[in-house]
Every structure is written in structure tokens, then in C-alpha cells.
């Protein structure tokens, strides 16, 4: 088995050395005439405005956190579920099943909680705006009723 890991290692090493080698060799062959216009950040031909590190939606951060939990869970389930078939055929599958899916159930409850809270809706603003509109319409409806009476 160690031999197989050595094989895998040689693949990784080759795959890592290859791009370095390609870039290194092409360094001697390609031209290099840099000037400031060429090195400027590309912003559709205009002069770049400000830093490129603009603010972006912090929803990305939330996705990363939710992903982390799920990924750890998937990585943990692989070795557990690897034993499931043998256990199912020879008996004794219940503990494995409970262990894996009890764990999974807790995570699913978490996902449903996130879902209900609206954390996995990408555009939460839109939802809030929709709700505000609905309240607005209700208010207007009441207001008009008041005016009529």
C-alpha cells in the first residue's frame, strides 16, 4: 500500500513541477516589454479607479462557514459508510446507521434553520423589500378603507 502512496506522490509532484517548468522555460522564449499602460489594472480601457479590493457581499463568508460544517461531515461519513455494506449483510448495521444518520439529522435541522432564517437566500434584501411592500400594501388598503368610511 505504501508503494501506491508513492505512486500518488509522484503524480502530485509531477503535476506541481509541470506548471513551474512550463512557466520557467517560456520565460526565456517570450518577449517582455512592460510599460505602465500595459501593467495597469484592466477596467475596460478607463484609468483604474481606487483599490481593487472593493467591498463585496458578505454572504460569501456565510456560505464558507456553512460549507465548512458540511464538508467535515461528508469527510467523516466516508469511512463510516464504507463499513455499512458488510454490516448490512452480516448484521450489526443499526449502530452504524444511527451514528451516521443521527449526525446527519442534526446537520439537516441546522440547514432547515438556516433556510427558515433566510441565510441561504442569496438576496436577502429582496425578501425584506418584498415583505415591506406587502406591509405597505396592507397599510394602503387599510388607509383607503378608512377614507371610504
Amino acid at each position: 500500500m505504501l508503494q501506491e502512496f508513492a505512486n500518488a506522490l509522484s503524480f502530485i509532484v509531477l503535476a506541481a513541477v509541470l506548471p513551474v517548468g512550463i512557466l520557467f522555460v517560456s520565460k526565456f522564449l517570450r518577449p517582455s516589454y512592460p510599460y505602465s499602460g500595459k501593467l495597469a489594472t484592466y477596467e475596460c480601457g478607463e484609468d483604474p479607479v481606487g483599490s481593487a479590493f472593493v467591498m463585496f457581499n458578505n454572504r460569501f463568508y456565510l456560505v464558507a462557514i456553512v460549507f465548512l460544517v458540511f464538508d467535515v461531515e461528508v469527510a467523516l461519513l466516508f469511512p463510516i459508510m464504507r463499513l455499512f455494506r458488510e454490516a448490512a449483510i452480516n448484521g450489526g448495521a443499526l449502530p452504524i446507521f444511527l451514528l451516521a444518520f443521527g449526525f446527519l439529522f442534526v446537520l439537516l435541522v441546522g440547514l432547515i434553520y438556516e433556510w427558515k432564517k433566510g441565510d441561504i437566500d442569496w438576496v436577502r434584501d429582496a425578501i425584506e423589500r418584498k415583505q415591506a411592500l406587502r406591509e405597505d400594501a396592507a397599510f394602503k388598503h387599510r388607509f383607503e378603507n378608512v377614507k371610504d368610511s
Binding site: F11, A15, R30, W122
Partner: protein
Amino acid sequence: MSLAEFLSGLNDFIPPNVPFFVFSIAAAVIVILGFAMPIGGICTYIERKVAADFQERIGPNRVGPFGILQFFADGIKMFLKEDTATKNADMFIYNLAPGLVTAGALGAFAAIPFSKYVIGADLDIGIFYVMALASLVSLGILLGAWSSENKWSLLGGMRGAAQIVSYEIPLGIALLSVVVVSGQMSMIKIVDGQAWLGSGSFWYIFHNPFLFLNFFVYFVAALAECNRTPFDLPEAESELVSGFNTEFSGMRFGLYALAEFADVIMFACVAAAIFLGGWHLPFVNIENIHLGWSLAGKSLDPLIQTLFMILIFLGKASVIVFVVMWLRWTLPRLRVDQLMDLCWKYLIPIAFFNLVGASLWVWIFKGQSMIELISGMMGAG
């Protein structure tokens, strides 16, 4: 048996006392330089030809017969192009990122079982290995986008990271459901569990209805992992110029392009191996076919079987690659919120449901497949 052991077994042609690592490096060179990179290049040509056919154009036809050397010309051009970086780019990460993407996409080929004897490394945790190296790609995209100091790149890279990271979960669960059914994590053993043995053991996609559904979950998630249309938001050329690789030029860009196709081929190969039976055909078991040909007193049967296995395996993989190209000219791009909804609200619950279903199926029917059950019932009746 891995490719390196196979090479070291050819003792008629090789001087004695060659250390083993030479063979393992030779195997890596054969698979990566001899298969993954040329096929990745040829795929860019095929994609252009397929695109041209869909749009009733001619496509590349100048370099070589039918333009088939186009990828070679493109490669040379990229190799000789000036390679500029933005003034404020974080040069260390900027150089590292295309390498990471390439290393992830090409390194994963170690665990692709081309035939029973041709696999880079017959790891016991083959599926795990593929998943681990494939997730390097998201790292490379995010780092490349962040370090190039460009707003388009940053937005594209953030989208790419969120997308790849999200779709890794349904992908992992879909693979997990195969592990539940096969009870194996080694690629060779998973493929061998799908051999036609006469009893009705068959490809895992037809093992039970849950795996059938999970194949499609896997396919959609793999599309998103490779940033292919309809999930090409990180590049989104009509919104973000060129997304995460806007500031990459020359060979660094070439590496991104190469890695993208290597990734597609890798995921297609994994799908062919674990869902579509790898080198196995229905109704025949190739290992039982003996032509009886021999050369210099040695039977040629293993060699011929291996060749057939590789052809069948690559045939299945190339059908999937064609479907991926086909989808590109069929479906429009998703919006970011639709993308996230599709992953978190549809694919993950469906994949979880199928995982539970597949495990209950294995438990209740003692690991028998649908076809085995039906043939058993017909035998009893």
C-alpha cells in the same frame, strides 16, 4: 495492480535493479504527459468543432487536417506570448495560483482507473484522493482572482469559490452513496463490483432508484465544479469580462485553460468509473474473453483485454464530455441566487434523501441490486 507495477513487470525490456520510484515516475509521466495534457488540448479543439456544428459554422480548419493541430498552434502561441502582470499584483500568489489549479486537476488523474491494470495509484481511498485534489482547483481560482488586483477578477473569484465550495457537498454525498452501495473506496474495487457476473450485478447507476437519481445530482454538481455552462459564473464573459482570469495572459492563462478541460475530463472519468461501470459492458465480462493469440510464446490476451478496457472506459467518459459540451450551447447561464438556491435548496436535500434511501436499500435487500431482485423473483416464480 497499478501502472508502475505493470511497468516494472516488463522485465524482458528493462535492465535489472532499477529502483521502483523510476517506474512510479514513469507511470505519472505516461498518464499526465501522455494522456491528460494532450487530451485536454484536443478537447479544446473538439469543443470548438462541436460548438461550430451546433451553430452551423465550420470551426477551426486551417492547422493540419480538419484543423486538428489547432490546439498545438494555440499552445505554442501562448507559450511565446508576453506574460504581463498588473502593477499591484501579489506576485507570489499570482504565480502560485495557476500552478495550484493545474496540480489539482492533473494530480487527480492518479486515481482514475483506465483499466484493471492501468491506474496511476491503486489507493484504498481513491475516491477521497480525487475529491481532495479536485478541491485544490477552487483554491487556485480564489487565489488567482484575489492576487491579480482587479475588480472583475475579485468578483469572479468570489463567485467561483462560493460556487465550487457549495457544489462540493452534493458531489461528495453522491459519491458517498456509491460507497454505501459498493462498500469500497478503492476505485478498482468499485469498478469491479459492477462486473457482469451473470447474476445481474450491474452498473451502479442501475443498482437502485436512489443511485440513479444521485448520478444526475453528481453530474450537475460536477458541471458546477468545473465552472462549465450553465454554471460558468466565475468567468461569465458577458458580465465580468473574463472573471477570475481577466488579468492572466500568456502561459499562465494557458494553464488555467488546460486545467479547466483536465478537470472536465477527470470528473467525466470518475462518473464513468463509479456510476457507469468503468470498463465493464452489459452481458459480457471482458476478462472471460480469450482470443488465444500469442506472440513469442506469450499470451496476448491480457494486453488485448487491457486495450479493450481502456477503449470502453474512455468511450463512456467521452460521451459524458460530449454532453457537457452540448449543454454549453443549450442552457443559458444561471443567476447567482438561482445557483445558490439550486445547490442548497434542491441538490443537497435530494442527495441526502438518496443517501438515506440507498443505505436503507442496502440494509433491507442485503446489498442486492434491482436487477438481482427482479431476476430472483422471476426465478422463484
